[in-house]
Subunit: 188 residues, 2 copies
C-alpha cells in the first residue's frame, strides 16, 4: 500500500480578504504582491474606486515592471470618490464599477495572471454597486492556481464564506487621534 | 489677529506598529514602503529574525532599487529561526539581535533614510533579547521627519504608548484551518 504523504499539500490559488476598519488592508495586498512579483509571479492590481489621487505606489509599480522578469501592473478604475446613498447613487459611479468588474472578471478568467488584487472591491459591494454573487461566481470558476486578494471594509458574508483566508485590520491607536494629518509618503 | 489655520498640520515622521496574530504585519509594512519609495522616499527594511529563508521580496527590493530614483533596501539580519526560552536563549541569537539593533539604531540616527522598517523586532523584544526601553529611547530621539514601522506580534506596551499608530491584524479565517499549506509566492 502506498500512502500519499502529500495529500494535504494542496497547491492551489487562494482567495484572501483584507478587511476591517484599521490600516493596512491595501498596503498588505501591495506587499503580498511585491513578494509574489519577486517569486516571478505576474501581478495585476485593479483599484475599484481610487482614481483622481496619484498614489506613490503607481510609480513604484511602473518602476518595478520596467525591470526584466518583473510584472507588477496597477490600474486605477475609479475616480477617487463615490457619491453614494441608495437610490441616489450616481449613475456614473455605477457605470465605472460595471466597467471595472468587466475588466476584473476578464482578467481573472484570462489565465494571464498569477495574482490579482481587487482593491476596495468590498466598498463597491457594500455600496450595492456590485452584487456579491456575481463576484463569488467568477471566483468559484477562477483558474486553479490564481490567487485573488479582495480589500476594503465590511467584506460581504458571501465572500468571507468563500475565502480561504480573511484578515481583519483593527485600529488600536491612530495618529489622527493626536491631531496629526495624513503624511505624504506613507499614508498615500 | 492672525489665526494659524495649519496648526494641526503637523508634518513629521510617524512611529507605526503592525501587530496581532493575523497575517499582513510584514506585508503591510512592505506595501507602505513600496508606496513611500514611489514618493521618492529612501526606504530601509531591516529584518531582525529572518535570515536563512529566501523571501521573494528580497528580489523585488533589489529590482526596484535598480531603477533610477528608487531606494528600497532590504537586509536580513537574523538566521531564520530563534532558539528561545529564558536562560536557554542561544548566545548566538542574542549576539545577532545585538548586531541588528546596532545597525538599526545607527540607521535611525544617520538621517540617510525617510522610512525604516524594523521587521519582527517585536519578537526580539518579546523574547527578551532586546530591552524595549533601548528601542524607545532611540525612537524618541529619531530625526523629526523619519517614519519608523515596527512589526511582530505582542508589541510591547512601552512602544505601543510611544507609537502614533498601532494596527492589530486579526485572523478571522485561515487557509491552514482547511489543511492547505503555505503557498509559495504569496505566503513567503
Amino acid at each position: 500500500m502506498v500512502i500519499d504523504c502529500e495529500q494535504n499539500d494542496v497547491r492551489r490559488g487562494l482567495v484572501l480578504i483584507n478587511t476591517g476598519p484599521g490600516k493596512g488592508k491595501t498596503t498588505a495586498a501591495l506587499g503580498t504582491a511585491f513578494r509574489a512579483a519577486g517569486n516571478g509571479m505576474r501581478v495585476l492590481i485593479l483599484q475599484f474606486l481610487k482614481g483622481s489621487w496619484h498614489y506613490g505606489e503607481l510609480d513604484s509599480a511602473e518602476a518595478l515592471s520596467s525591470v526584466e522578469g518583473f510584472r507588477y501592473v496597477m490600474r486605477q478604475l475609479g475616480r477617487g470618490f463615490v457619491k453614494v446613498g441608495g437610490a441616489e447613487t450616481d449613475p456614473e459611479d455605477l457605470a465605472m464599477v460595471e466597467r471595472a468588474w468587466a475588466e476584473a472578471s476578464a482578467a481573472i478568467e484570462s489565465g494571464e495572471w498569477d495574482l490579482i488584487v481587487l482593491d476596495e472591491i468590498n466598498y463597491a459591494i457594500g455600496y450595492k454597486m456590485l452584487h456579491p454573487e456575481r463576484v463569488a461566481e467568477v471566483l468559484r470558476g477562477k483558474p486553479e492556481m490564481l490567487h485573488v486578494i479582495l480589500t476594503g471594509r465590511n467584506a460581504h458574508p458571501t465572500l468571507v464564506e468563500l475565502a480561504d483566508t480573511v484578515t481583519e485590520m483593527r485600529e488600536v491607536k491612530h495618529a489622527y487621534q493626536k491631531g496629526i494629518l495624513a503624511q505624504r509618503g506613507i499614508e498615500f
